[in-house]
């Protein structure tokens, strides 16, 4: 294990050096174009709308999940974790299969003589963002429900409160506490949306700042404008983070999803029908795209061209490397965080940057010395590991705190320190969150379509990038196969690391 100070220095360098390069380069080089301003406006309103709709739709879903018991409920809650890990480009492919021009929904609409729904443009971006973030919001609200003390529910039951009174005394205070954090977390994700806006958006009126950076970079070769846009992106992230810091952000995911609520709290009659309809619709909305990818793609996998397999091998190496780097940075920082004030802020520093901003900065740094295209994969690895670090820290920190609260004195009284402490105490007690963090790091890196788009010359490809170019050349069979492979590898890596962690947990 490397010392926390070294880890902190590395993280600070990985974030601040690219930001510094961007700032130096942006020094009044090129002004923004009117279309950049359009992109800024679109970024803000689509993020607000996506976050608002995700939260609003999550309320009935979380309520239904909380008060109903049915076979497969556990699987449903697990399914809510899937879009969080799913590569965005695969999510887009799945949504196109259902809501696209030749999808099931448009078939139905045509049969009813209704106008066609287009997934391309602003509405498509928002729908994709809801698909990716509604489950996150629902899980946060479900945790809010479960955090209501059982005594409170028992009291409501004992008093025979009708649904309206339950809502007033139980649900509304919980929503007031949880919703602002959920909204801001999703807003932050959507503000730095790249892959969704790149594939479904288009034109200045449906482009995010991240896409504008990419276009300034790739098509206009205007590094100055890319740098200026990066500054705008940083300002947006800082503003959203500043707002979030005023609230205590609830952790966006986590274990512990099954404390039985008193069953009689669930109201009957039409409430039951409403809950059933909500759950069915949500399951269909979340499952259909995943199933479409799996069914359409699985038969195409054997016929995938060799270049896709090479890209898959690259992606696997990249994911493993990024996982190792993430944990190497996250473990010492989280162990230091309860005592050293600087450790947590440093580990959260990557939240201020986005994939394209870091990519632009690193491009500016390496360009005078090396051909950036030769560094496509290493740079992607660094960016992925850096951007995953805050998630890993959030997962590890609560466990580290309870580890230290429970066993620090005992370990000290036995003189347990250094490697022996790491091996006998730290690693066994942290096995679960370490495995979970590793799974998330691997899945994020596997599915990432961000910095690589700036650096790749088409030769050193990752699987998401290969999938994107297959979609761009309308080779939809091969794209479905690649999407299915990517989904399988992403979920497989996540499940593997999560299982290793659970298996290594001696409890």
């Amino acid at each position: 294990m490397i010392p926390a100070a070294l880890a902190a220095t590395l993280v600070a360098a990985l974030v601040l050096a690219p930001l510094g390069a961007v700032i130096l380069r942006a020094g009044g080089v090129s002004a923004l174009t009117p279309s950049d301003l359009d992109a800024l406006i679109f970024t803000l309103w689509q993020a607000a709308l996506s976050a608002g709709l995700s939260c609003a739709l999550a309320i009935p879903l979380a309520r239904a999940l909380h008060r109903r018991r049915f076979p497969g409920r556990g699987a449903f809650i697990a399914l809510l974790g899937a879009p969080f890990l799913l590569p965005t480009i695969v999510a887009v492919m799945g949504l196109l299969a259902i809501l696209g021009r030749r999808g099931v929904v448009n078939g139905l609409l045509a049969g009813l003589g209704l106008p066609e729904f287009s997934l391309y443009g602003a509405q498509g971006v928002v729908v994709a963002h809801i698909f990716l973030n509604l489950p996150l919001a629902a899980r946060m609200l479900l945790q809010g429900w479960q955090a209501i003390p059982a005594e409170r529910l028992r009291l409501a039951l004992a008093l025979g409160l009708p649904p309206a009174a339950q809502a007033r005394h139980l649900e509304r205070p919980m929503l007031r506490a949880v919703l602002p954090g959920a909204f801001l977390a999703i807003f932050l994700v959507c503000v730095s949306s790249f892959a969704v806006a790149l594939t479904l958006g288009g034109g200045p009126r449906a482009s995010t700042i991240e896409v504008a950076i990419y276009q300034a970079f790739r098509f206009d070769a205007d590094l100055g404008r890319a740098a200026t846009l990066s500054l705008v992106q940083i300002a947006l992230a800082l503003a959203a983070l500043g707002a979030a810091a005023r609230l205590t952000l609830p952790s966006s995911f986590g274990a512990g999803l099954d404390r039985a609520a008193p069953a009689a709290l669930a109201p009957d009659r039409w409430h039951r029908i409403k809950d059933g309809a909500t759950l069915t619709l949500a399951a269909a909305f979340l499952l259909a795209p995943l199933l479409a990818i799996a069914l359409r793609g699985i038969t195409e996998i054997p016929a995938l061209p060799a270049s896709v397999w090479r890209a898959a091998a690259n992606s696997l190496m990249l994911a493993l490397g990024a996982t190792v780097l993430t944990l190497t940075l996250a473990l010492p920082l989280s162990l230091a965080a309860p005592r050293a004030r600087w450790a947590e802020p440093v580990a959260m520093l990557p939240m201020t940057a986005s994939a394209l901003v870091l990519g632009t900065g690193l491009f500016l740094i390496v360009r005078p010395w090396l051909a950036p295209t030769s560094l496509a994969l290493p740079v992607t690895l660094l960016v992925n590991a850096t951007l995953t670090l805050p998630f890993a820290l959030r997962l590890l920190l609560p466990e580290v705190r309870s580890l230290q609260a429970d066993y620090d004195r005992l370990a000290a009284s036995l003189g347990l320190s250094g490697l022996a402490r790491l091996r006998l105490l730290t690693l066994p007690r942290l096995a679960r969150p370490l495995g979970f963090s590793a799974g998330i790091a691997a899945a994020f890196s596997m599915g990432d379509l961000g910095a690589i788009t700036l650096f790749s010359d088409g030769r050193s490809q990752t699987l998401p990038l290969a999938l994107y170019s297959l979609m761009g050349s309308y080779r939809m069979e091969a794209a479905a196969g690649a999407a299915c492979l990517l989904m399988a590898l992403t979920f497989g890596l996540y499940a593997l690391f999560d299982r290793i962690g659970a298996h290594a947990d001696p409890r």
């Binding site: 429970d406 066993y407 004195r409 005992l410 370990a411 000290a412 009284s413 036995l414 003189g415 347990l416 320190s417 022996a420 402490r421 091996r423 006998l424 105490l425 066994p428 007690r429 947990d505 001696p506 409890r507």
Partner: protein, 231 residues
Amino acid sequence: MLTLDRLRITQDDFALEADFSIAPGARVAVLGPSGAGKSTLLTTIAGFLAPSAGRVLWAGTDITGTAPGMRPLSILFQDQNLFPHLTVSQNIGLGISPRPRLSTGDSRRIEAALERVGLAGLGARKPVALSGGEQGRVALARCLLRAKPLLLLDEPFAALGPALKAEMLALVAEIAREQGTTVLMVSHDPTDATALCPETVLVAEGTAYPPRPTAALLANPPPALAAYLGP
């Protein structure tokens, strides 16, 4: 000999002073109302709290700045005395060394210690599979192997029933007598003190008083102790 040399412990508006010595091999109860600072005193002797003034000495050597694990003492807390993810043997083995593989000689010593506390053959279990009394015995077995000359007990048996607690205290007394261990034991209960400890340190009103014979102290309690004991 344990010497508290003009020791002063302060935490916010709480302060405790102690200035006395405890003879080698003595068994001393630390008695007093809750909140008086009994645990604080033991925690300071064990090295988890730094005193604001004064020194802690063992056999004439200043150990005030020594790390907890390097002090010539073992301490048992109210809870969390065992690592729940390690087996009983591994937990006891930490009393010998934190090496990954213990030698056959070590394993034999662990087995002997388990036998001594009446838990022969339970080495492969996890603490969660043991009762509260058995967990206390495992912690005692580890103290046996650490073989430190001073044993601090911060009410490790408080959660046990009266009969079980008396049994554990008797085991402590037996082991302490065999090994010549000095014992300092926090207690709420004057009967525990009478049973195990010939001497008692009274902690009340910001002072830990020098040890006095337990029987005499309880027979003729000073006002602070009388108020605590009740009529």
